[in-house]
Subunit: 179 residues, 2 copies
């Protein structure tokens, strides 16, 4: 269990940003398609409680992720619990048996770059456009460190000219009726 | 997703049963400790609905399992959904965040033997004693085949002198207040 510190912004020129961060020394760590399916809780409405439960399918790995409510005005900082799973379809069947409701799916092409202790994700999201997400790599950040890490991420965002921040999730941007 | 056909019985002489099934040609497939932690649902009482949600920790693998209500008077036949997970402690933390309640833990030493298309488990359960469980290996059994498979399992049980059947789960035997 750890804190996820993450800032997201719209990107008009994803190729330009990619050249820029490569020049700065960022290294490509992963590239591929991600299919994220989100589920709502049987008893509470995650849109209201600002939580999320997600099954992520990738090329060679799949994961189940819980995200707690955002705890910060300026970023997407929140608690995150994630682990790899063998069979995402079985996981989906199980969640439905447990009365969780599938609410929507987000498909994107993602490139993850590593830059110091930050992860920079360049996302082309189906139906939404291009985005850059920057998050702290270490999942074990204490609450005290969150402000410092967030400020560092925001400074890098500013440096890259990524001014149009977006705190709303891809899911809610795609399915505004969930808000 | 498949049907689990399973019959369980008390065993007075586990060593004797083991010699007997080896003579019959059964082969040891797996041996080790299992720690099973069961969770109750946030909205319904699994003790009443006869369902189960379990995190299983083993030596080199961990799994998450959902079991549906038993659909047969004489065996433990029920729907089962199971998949491997990377991190059982994270899975437990996630379930608690999702308002599932841990209700109890079952520790046992298990030896799995393969015999034709059946799995024979010899269990020494902490606080309960020794048991034999026989189940069909193929998770894809159709509902039509369930009766046939169940009869085959029961014939083998009789043949091994395992007359004292038990439909109650280890969890409910250990925690009778859950019934």
């Amino acid at each position: 269990m750890g804190m996820e510190v993450e800032v997201k912004a719209y990107a008009d020129d994803l190729k330009g940003i990619e050249s820029r961060i490569k020049e700065m020394g960022a290294e490509l760590a992963w590239e591929g398609e991600q299919q994220d399916t989100y589920f709502n809780h049987p008893k509470r409405d995650f849109a209201k409680t600002d939580e999320a439960l997600r099954i992520r399918k990738e090329k060679n790995r799949n994961s189940l992720t819980y995200k707690g409510p955002k705890i910060d005005e300026h970023s997407k900082t929140r608690e995150e619990i994630q682990f790899l799973i063998e069979n995402p379809d079985a996981a989906g069947d199980m969640l439905v048996k447990l009365d969780f409701t599938p609410v929507g799916t987000v498909n994107k092409l993602r490139k993850n770059y590593q830059f110091d202790d930050l992860k920079i994700s360049l996302d082309s999201v189906e139906g939404l456009g291009d985005f850059v997400e920057i998050e702290a790599l270490d999942a074990g950040i204490s609450e005290q460190d969150v402000t410092e890490v967030r400020d560092k991420i925001i400074a890098l965002m500013d440096d890259l000219g990524l001014k149009k921040r977006e705190r709303t999730s891809y899911l809610e941007l795609l399915y505004p009726e969930l808000k």
